[in-house]
Symmetry: C2
Subunit: 524 residues, 2 copies
DNA sequence: GGTTCTAGAACC
DNA sequence: GGTTCTAGAACC
């Protein structure tokens, strides 16, 4: 019967044999119900029986083995009673160690060397790991903390800087707005003056044109200019060359020179003498152009008179009947004033009875006191306008001129913008470019000279850039005066063109001026 | 002998008695050298002796107690030998349990219920604490992480916004710079024209003054203005009122009206008829003031002529000999042109032989062709200047005017700033306010009118604010075009005044124009 | 896996 | 602090 259970440990087999063997029943046997076994004579059992089955005679070692396989001592209540015989038998039991149930021995397992040790070891490992992790976490925490505080400091500075930049921005906005407002005010005021001026001129000059009652301009040829004694002009640009080119000649000799005969008077005298030698022939050519500005109420007013049959001279005359879109007011003044040269008129008056030249005789015949007064009337009114402009701080920035400077160059793109701008104008610019009015050669030359100045001006870097602008986009940066507080939105930085354009837009938009309708920029 | 060691546990005392008692030597006694004790007959000892001293007869319990007090079993080599008698005695020893050394029993201590358990418990507590802390740290770590990422996002946005704001700022800077440059260019160009104009005027007017050869201005009283049929001026500001106040009257009747007789002609006619009814009496007053501008080269030129004995009229005349610091050029034009009214001159010439008024007769007598030409010369030169200014885009912004507009108000603080500004000027302003030149009543009235306009102008909000500026500080925000990248520096936000001032500074500083020396702002 | 010594721990 | 049962652990 022994060893018939291959998977049952040796101790269990030996124990089964000992308990189940009837020969050892006096030392070790089943209890009454066969659920446990009892060692009846402990001392004899250990010293006589145990050595036969095991390598020892110690009851302790036997008990240790029992405990090792999960056997438990059955406690007896009577042992608790005081001083009862200490010889009562030792009793042990196990759920799978039952009489007649030998097959259940396979279920009895020897206790493994304690999971507890493993658990403890694992716990220790865990502790060290936990501590390691804790240190790591703490280190990273510290790193985080420093980063956080650094970020917070940076953030504070950034918020400050953003606030300050926004303040700056707003300040600049104000500055720009004010500058623009300032300019706009000038423009508006000037525009009103222009309107006023035109009306005044009409008031004084809108009488019927007198075809042949026209002044003459006597000019010195460019080649002769060097011979004329002109006061030193060191340090001065020759922008006013136009004026220098004109030298007035006297026609009569009965001029009374009342003066101390100082240096400036000498120039005068010299100019006179030059006139006497060459002035008469110059009188033969008379560019007669009278530009009378028209208005809504005086559509039939403006007439340009031109004498094509006169001989032409090769000197430029500051008369232009071609429309100068940048200078609607000034061009008119230019032509009317230059054409009606006061000296020429005076000469005509004074020489009324003479017949110096056949070409001018017709004009001379009609020249009378009335014409002279009329001419002077016009001139005076023009001057009054200028005075008003200047004394009233009416800086003569023409509004349309400014608009065009800010939108496009006449030189660069004349047709488009002039048409675009001017077809919508309120008749303010109507004095220029009446069809059917052709300019004489002298006038053309003069205009080219004027245009040259214009070109010079439009080449200003600011304008040059502005002139390259498109007209659609409304850059946000300039318009957006209310900075977003918490919503941080990505804003594309403005290009220089956009910024300039913004200025323009601002200029036009800022004030709801009547000028708006004249500007192609504003389509809102 | 028992209980004589009060601090020795009962077990040790009983053990000492048992071992040391010669009566029990057959069961338990000292070994040969007295360093340990032996149990000779284990079974009889446990069953017969132990119960006499202890509450049990179990050898195991006895051994357990020995172990508990640190006694150790002495291992015998012969037991390792195979199958030697199993009866060899059990031997135990303890360093302080020696024969004859009963006093050392006090040093034998019962093992405490294991520090190990405490350690384990502490470790467990530590583990739980560690875990708790770890969780806390982890939680705070997560909080930190979220804060950090939020901060980082905010930071990125802020950096972006800072960049964008700086770009905006730079763009605005450009815009301001360009606007200012633009204005400055206008100013500079205009200044050159002013210089030019002055020279031109000197060229034509610096002859010796002819005291009584002075024109007359015929003015219509303000009350009569309403009677004059003036074209409708709806929608127009009455800023040019000055011009409206002046109506020119014809002196002679032989005026030939050649025209289609349109509506505009009617006005002309009405004006004429008005003259014939009331004009003659008006001719009696003549405000004669000739302001000839002086320059460095023509110190002796400027003279102001005044006829105080003429009757004064109650209408304002746009003549001013008082220095208009805002309009040095225009004021000169104003006086010279208004004083030498063309009509008046013409009247003088045409009425040379008549004696209308004793007051003007002196002037009339001296009026001749030369004076007329001279007058017209001046007028023409002025006109030429205007033409040049206008056709050459010379917006008549006086440089000094602009400077003053940007620095102080003549109205607000006239004396300080005028002196400050003008004493350093390069003779450009020298035409105004020559001492010893007193203005007439009419001139004063006119200047007041002009000043009224000036006041109106300086009340522009932009100017008003600019006028309140100090001139020392140079705000950083405007000048600092290079934004600091990494160094975040606290910048004080600009006040509006500072911003405006910055504009002014910019205006002056931007271009190294010759204007700089004229400005009190620039002290570098 | 068994044996032995010692310890843990519950209970008294 | 002692007793008992059981377990830990070293050693074989």
């Amino acid at each position: 019967m022994k060893q018939e259970h291959p998977n049952v440990p040796a101790f269990l087999c030996k124990l089964w044999m000992l308990v189940d063997d009837p020969d050892t029943n006096e030392f070790i046997t089943w209890n009454q119900n066969g659920e446990s076994f009892m060692v009846l004579d402990e001392q004899r059992f250990s010293k006589e029986i145990l050595p036969k089955y095991f390598k020892h005679n110690n009851m302790a070692s036997f008990i240790r083995q029992l405990n090792m396989y999960g056997f438990r001592k059955v406690l007896h209540l009577d042992s608790c009673v005081v001083k009862v015989e200490h010889d009562e038998p030792i009793e042990f039991q196990h759920p799978y160690f039952r009489q007649g149930q030998e097959h259940m021995l396979a279920h009895i397992k020897r206790k493994v060397p304690s999971t507890k040790g493993e658990e403890t070891k694992i716990t220790q490992e865990d502790i060290s790991q936990i501590l390691t992790n804790a240190h790591k976490v703490q280190a990273s925490h510290e790193t985080f903390e420093s980063r956080l505080s650094a970020l917070q400091r940076e953030n504070e500075s950034l918020w400050r800087e953003v606030g300050e930049l926004k303040a700056k921005h707003s300040q600049q906005q104000q500055v720009i707005r004010k500058i623009v407002q300032f300019i706009l005010t000038l423009v508006q005021n000037n525009r009103l003056v222009n309107l006023k001026r035109k009306r005044t001129l009409l008031l004084n000059t809108n009488g019927p044109p007198q075809p042949n009652v026209l002044p003459q301009i006597v000019k010195e040829p460019d080649d002769d200019k060097t011979t004329a004694p002109i006061p030193t002009t060191k340090g001065l640009k020759r922008r006013g060359q136009l004026t220098d080119d004109i030298i007035i000649y006297d026609v009569t000799d009965d001029l009374e020179v009342e003066g101390e005969g100082d240096a400036s008077n000498n120039h005068h005298t010299v100019a006179k003498s030059e006139y006497t030698s060459s002035g008469i022939s110059s009188l033969n050519h008379v560019p007669e152009i009278v530009l009378v500005e028209d208005d809504e109420e005086y559509e039939d007013g403006p007439v340009i008179q031109e004498e094509k049959d006169l001989e032409s001279v090769d000197v430029p005359i500051p008369v232009s009947d071609e429309p100068n879109p940048l200078l609607p007011g000034s061009s008119q003044l230019n032509s009317s004033l230059s054409a009606e040269d006061p000296v020429t008129i005076m000469d005509s008056i004074l020489n009324e009875n003479e017949t110096d030249s056949g070409a001018v005789s017709q004009s001379m015949n009609h020249l009378g006191k009335a014409e002279l007064v009329d001419y002077l009337d016009k001139m005076d009114c023009s001057l009054e306008d200028f005075q008003a402009m200047l004394s009233g701080k009416q800086f003569s920035i023409d509004p349309d001129l400014l608009v065009e400077l800010f939108t496009s160059s006449v030189q660069m793109n004349p047709a488009d913008f002039i048409n675009n701008t001017k077809t919508e104008s309120k008749g303010i610019e109507s004095s220029k470019s009446k069809e059917g009015q052709t300019a004489g050669q002298n006038t053309e030359t003069s205009f080219k000279k004027s245009e040259k100045q214009l070109v010079q001006y439009t080449k200003h870097p600011f304008l040059t850039e502005l002139l390259e602008l498109g007209t659609d986009a409304v850059p946000e940066a300039i318009m957006d005066t209310q900075p977003k507080q918490s919503k941080l939105v990505r804003l594309e930085p403005l290009t220089e063109e956009e910024a300039s354009e913004a200025t323009l837009f601002y200029l036009c938009k800022l004030e709801h001026s009547p000028l708006d309708s004249d500007m192609p920029l504003l389509d809102d």
